[in-house]
């Protein structure tokens, strides 16, 4: 038996199929992953993401420390509540984890990292924090629920205290708000509008029950994966890891190269890789025929080296199979993927595949 979130018994009572995810017993789906997926694209879904790790950083050296720790630059966060997506790199420029940093107040930040990488992340952060005046505090007593979908915010707003409802609804995308015991962030991992709400564990079950009573569809990790794939959002450990740089994972946009004198961990090797035009690129694939692309399948590009699918699956919105793949550099539109000893035609496309309920590629 793995670790359980404060919502575990809610999931079991709702008939969820429980699977192990990074040492946590988590819901895979509550009956139909496809229905859960569509509910988020069209209406609203709720996800238990309490397994994720919340770390609060504070102290006179917090900003300086994060500017060293992360490839993106927290100095870009000018307004309180603003969020920043970043990779945390090792000395070779490989990705230790991807995370979101929220700027709460001067020298006070909240960082949310992946569940499966908790131990190594905390070890790395504490090791690097050594000489900085920064306090690193994990917050295991907190739970997190994501409500996602075009109607999610309006529905969930009714569960907030009166005084927080309006300011929460006024949050712009990628901003967060400390609302008493709650922390409400207009962020997510589905490609839809919505909130991620951090709260004391004791409050989570009643908040979850209110979501369900309001008609918000409970959603498991299965739908979370197909939604993030359609949205072109990377999954740590699948699309990138410590041997892959953000440049080969489609995450070049998250590296803050300026100012040039900011010495973030991994900068030097990354600078060398950036100058190499032969480095692999990260792109979306659309299967032209029926079938399903899967992780690790070989991508064949005429006249070039092979590539590899990092995340493949069925897109419920497109009703076609899609994938993310690491493939040779260059401009080309057609490639093939080896599926059970046959080569199937795929089209190389720009991600995302779907965003805010709309298909963003030509089918």
């Amino acid at each position: 038996m793995g670790s359980q979130t404060p919502l575990y018994s809610c999931h079991v009572e709702a008939g969820a199929r429980i699977v192990d995810f990074g040492g946590w017993d988590m819901p895979l789906h509550y009956g139909s992953q496809l229905e859960e997926h569509h509910a988020v694209r069209r209406h609203a879904g709720a996800f238990d993401v309490s397994h994720m790790t919340v770390v609060d950083l504070s102290g006179a050296g917090a900003t300086e420390f994060l500017r060293r720790l992360l490839a993106n630059d927290v100095a870009r966060l000018k307004e309180q509540g603003k969020a920043l997506y970043s990779c945390m790199l090792n000395a070779d420029g490989g990705v230790i984890d991807d995370l979101i940093t929220y700027y709460l107040a001067p020298n006070r930040y909240r960082v949310i990292v992946n569940a499966a990488t908790r131990d190594k992340d905390l070890a790395w952060i504490n090791e690097q924090a050594g000489s900085y005046a920064v306090d690193v505090a994990e917050r295991p007593e907190l739970a997190m629920i994501a409500v996602q979908g075009p109607e999610a915010r309006l529905l969930a707003a009714t569960f907030l205290d009166d005084q927080w409802r309006e300011p929460a609804l006024a949050l712009k995308p990628f901003y967060a708000l400390e609302a008493g015991d709650l922390f409400v962030a207009r962020t997510g991992y589905t490609g839809e509008d919505g909130w991620e709400i951090v709260m004391p564990a004791a409050q989570a079950p009643s908040f979850w029950d209110q979501c369900i009573a309001a008609g918000i569809q409970p959603c498991g990790l299965g739908a979370r994966d197909t939604l993030r794939l359609e949205a072109g959002m990377n999954l740590y450990g699948t699309d990138m890891d410590e041997t892959i740089s953000p440049l080969e994972a489609g995450l070049g946009w998250t590296i803050a190269w300026d100012p040039e004198d900011r010495d973030f961990i991994g900068r030097e090797p990354l600078t060398e890789m950036r100058a190499n035009p032969g480095r692999r690129k990260f792109a979306g694939l659309l299967l032209e025929s029926k079938g399903v692309l899967r992780n690790h399948q070989r991508v064949v590009v005429e006249g070039k080296d092979d590539g590899e699918i990092t995340s493949g699956g069925f897109s419920p919105t497109l009703e076609r199979s899609i994938a993310m793949a690491r493939i040779p550099a260059g401009d080309y539109e057609h490639a093939q993927v080896e599926v059970r000893n046959r080569l199937l035609d795929v089209r190389v496309v720009n991600m995302p595949f779907v965003r805010n309920g709309k298909i963003r590629i030509d089918l």
């Binding site: 895979l28 992953q33 496809l34 197909t226 079938g291 399903v292 699956g313 069925f314």
Partner: protein
Amino acid sequence: MSELPGDLKYTKEHEWLRQEEDGSVTIGITDHAQTALGDLVYVELPEVGQEVESGGEMAVVESVKAASDVYAPIGGKIIKINDELSEDPEKINVDPYGDGWIVRLQPSGDAGETMDPDAYQSFIDELDE
């Protein structure tokens, strides 16, 4: 837990077999199998006329989660395939023992090991523990 149809035989690979009056055998996957796979999104079917060996790959069912081979529980020649699964693979989720049948084959040899409903029920009960 749904009741297992009494007129079928079952395999450890979670296939079911129905003996038809003309000597052929209809094959599908069990309710336990479709539940474990989750929503099915693609089925790769063999060709009519294809010969399959007992224990050999016969079809592939793919769910949102994973691809799973369907093995021939008995050797023979494929005489019919459920074409409707190409457009509606979820028929297997909805009606695994009826509209979700996969192939019909004319056996040419012995069946591998099969179980009656009670034995299969015990088998999956043990797996769930």
